[in-house]
Symmetry: C2
Subunit: 454 residues, 2 copies
């Protein structure tokens, strides 16, 4: 009976307190890390099996990196942790009275809850735009954008009508925040460098990229000088930057900017985000974007056991809301974990204070802006700083090495590693060319016919 008794003694040490973390983004991950030594059982719930390093998602969308370079299985991250479990599930709501998280197929009780469910795209009340202008939040989004981008060049190559061909070689990016700037700049890089020599009938470097921002300047969250530098660097790459202009319509053939039509067969959405609908199920007040108005200690009014962190939380600091960026989410997640540990030890919670360590945005090859405290960089220096920071923070040694290798390769060879068009639908016979947005049927324009005409 020795073995059994030994096991029972171990079981007896199993902690009673149950902490549930919803979402394994930057906020959720930091919370899990912060609870490492807490005497609690931890459940991590996410609808994906992987944590995603979102700041580099645009690299997947532009064929520079592979999905697995910027994503890690959550199980792999939590591995080896005692009393921690990972649930791949859809959270449908939170019952704050019974203290349970309800799933599509069950429920999970909690003593402390950290909601880090993040945000998704918002089309400002025009959900029908999504079909024509995919946003960039998940790996699936990134692969869809990659597919559309590469396919546009393939279709242009086979298109004989010059006007239609120009439409396929025109790309509109809606939204001039970091994601929009990165997409637009990298698109031009891809066109003028990676694809430049690969086509027979088109010159990819003539591709037109239009970046449309409703506000007065790109990178509105940055200081005005950074915005100005970003605009100049974008224009140097050949991006057409249009600020102070509102998109009024998006369809299969392009966008309307005010009264002007931009005929672009590929439109990408980098404008609005809305908080996860989960925020509204907490019964707490939310702001216009659906973010939960939290107390300074990140808890929900009336529920000191519920913490909301990351893009889903609205908290003002020094008169402005804390921005929805990865460092803020990370700091919030860590703070919520710290307060939970304090509560378990009978200590009062501490208020959260966001420490802004700076912002940076990549623009293209050797082009970026960065503001790190009083240090302001642009161009190659900012780009090197950006590279350094992003490789440093990529989770997992293996990913870091692979990404470094691929970037070095791309830099020197002008090539991009993940130039694959894979189908949206399953099955080996479905190709992009059987897509709804096909060029009209016509006689094939092959090199032979062209030759005959010359």
């Amino acid at each position: 009976m020795f073995g059994w008794g030994w096991k029972r003694r171990l079981e007896a040490r199993k902690p009673d307190v149950r902490v549930v973390v919803i979402g394994a983004g930057f906020g959720g991950l930091a919370a899990i890390r912060g609870l490492r030594k807490a005497p609690a059982r931890i459940s991590v719930i996410d609808r994906k099996n992987h944590h995603l390093f979102q700041p580099l998602l645009y690299q997947v969308a532009t064929a520079g990196l592979n999905p697995s370079d910027i994503a890690r299985p959550i199980r792999r991250i939590v591995r080896g942790r005692k009393w921690a479990e990972v649930l791949l599930a859809d959270v449908t709501g939170i019952d704050t009275e019974r203290r349970v998280v309800t799933l599509a197929d069950g429920e999970v009780p909690y003593d402390y809850l950290i909601v880090a469910a993040g945000a998704t795209h918002s089309y400002f009340g025009n959900p029908e735009w999504e079909e024509f202008a995919p946003g960039l939040k998940s790996i699936e989004d990134a692969l869809e954008i990659r597919r559309r981008m590469l396919l546009a060049f393939e279709i242009a190559e086979r298109e004989t009508d010059e006007a239609t061909r120009r439409e396929w070689l025109t790309f509109a990016v809606v939204g001039g925040g970091p994601t929009g700037v990165e997409l637009a700049g990298t698109l031009r890089d891809v066109a003028r460098m990676t694809l430049a020599k690969d086509f027979t009938h088109i010159d990819p470097s003539t591709a037109r990229v239009v970046l449309i921002e409703g506000g007065p300047r790109v990178l509105g969250g940055f200081e005005p000088e950074a915005s100005e530098s970003a605009r100049k660097q974008l224009e140097r790459l050949g991006v057409e930057v249009r600020t102070g202009e509102r998109v009024t319509r998006i369809d299969a053939d392009g966008v309307m900017v005010g009264d002007e039509r931009i005929a672009a067969r590929t439109v990408l959405w980098a404008a609005g985000v809305a908080a996860s609908p989960l925020g509204r199920t907490l019964g707490a007040p939310t702001d216009r974007a659906g973010r939960v108005m939290v107390h300074p200690d990140l808890t929900v009014p009336g529920h000191p056991e519920i913490h909301v962190v990351g893009d889903l939380a609205h908290l003002e600091q020094d008169g402005a809301p804390i921005p929805g960026v990865a460092p803020a989410a990370t700091q919030m997640g860590a703070h919520a974990a710290r307060n939970i540990v304090r509560a378990m030890e009978g200590e009062p919670p501490l208020p959260f204070r966001y420490v802004d360590k700076g912002s940076m945005a990549a623009i293209g090859r050797g082009a970026a802006v960065a503001q790190l405290g009083r240090l302001k960089l642009s161009g190659v220096l900012a780009w090197l700083a950006w590279l350094f920071v992003h490789i440093l923070f990529l989770i997992g040694f293996r990913n870091r090495m692979l990404v470094m290798f691929q970037w070095a390769w791309s830099y020197f060879s002008y090539d991009r590693g993940a130039r694959l068009i894979t189908s949206r639908a399953e099955g080996p016979l479905v190709t992009g060319l059987t897509d709804a947005r096909l060029p009209s049927t016509r006689e094939a324009e092959s090199i032979h016919d062209q030759a005959a005409r010359t």
Copy 2:
């Protein structure tokens, strides 16, 4: 007018002969390479934008490699070739009278044609099995298999009914050729090493993998000793090998083998292939699998200008058909190119002769069989030979380096780099768990409930 005259002189050198290559697999690629110096205009038509290194596709299916590690854009391979163009298009037929290849949206004329359209899965007259048992031919197939495999473990983790849980932890692989052997062996490797420590409620290493082969032995194309060695190595990895047993039914819950039911929620198809339907549009005799019966010089009866190579060609040598393997396709493609060059120079065609340089099949970590002439290897030595050959033949220096790095990493860390569950459908909200093959709704089994019961 100097510039114009100069340009016209250049144009005048544009070759008149038009060669069309259908398919950029091993056969097509070798043909394109063989036509490098031929005074001809070359059109490569493929429905994918990438050449796929198929022998490593099972590594993508088992989360070991990324799609882009084993795929290269066709344009990148052909880049810099004068008078060569790449068309991303679906070939719908071949008009041998008018000498044009018809596409879904046009046509391309030819003087010489090389048909290298390959093969696809065949479900032996049971197309309804495809839904339940995906095959492995394209990147999309591989990602679907990866999704199902990883999801099965996730669902098992959350399943409380022990019998159902066992069903989710049972994997059936139908077909004991190289692909089936590789899939089955690697599945056990993933279960007992990669995932072993990542789950709370299940022990992935107890996953049951059943390999079902209708013939008397696995690796039927190899010598009997290799088959015997492969069986032993598979069994050492924990694979249940069943030979001489026919699958009579496949559905969402498993397979019927004769009268016996194997309850497996994941079934993979590695059994039959059928030649591309394009073969039948040539008007030439075909064998039972739809392969075109070609002349010894690989041309079609009555059409010395049409060459068929690779998996689509049926040619006997020393009393047996040349096998549908990558080296045979490569040799055929090169041979067809050589004969076309000869024809352009007025020389008669040469008959094709397949040189069998040996075969190898990987089984798992440190497990493989190889027969290279009189040299027969198995176990670690065969596995090292397999590694060496496959890295050597991977197209492109960059891919080779990346693959080597990832394999070295996997070997020493027991980790696999591409453990991502990405949706089949687009959109950020669709997860695997909203799939049709869901476990029944139930109370969530979280670590807490389990704890309460102990």
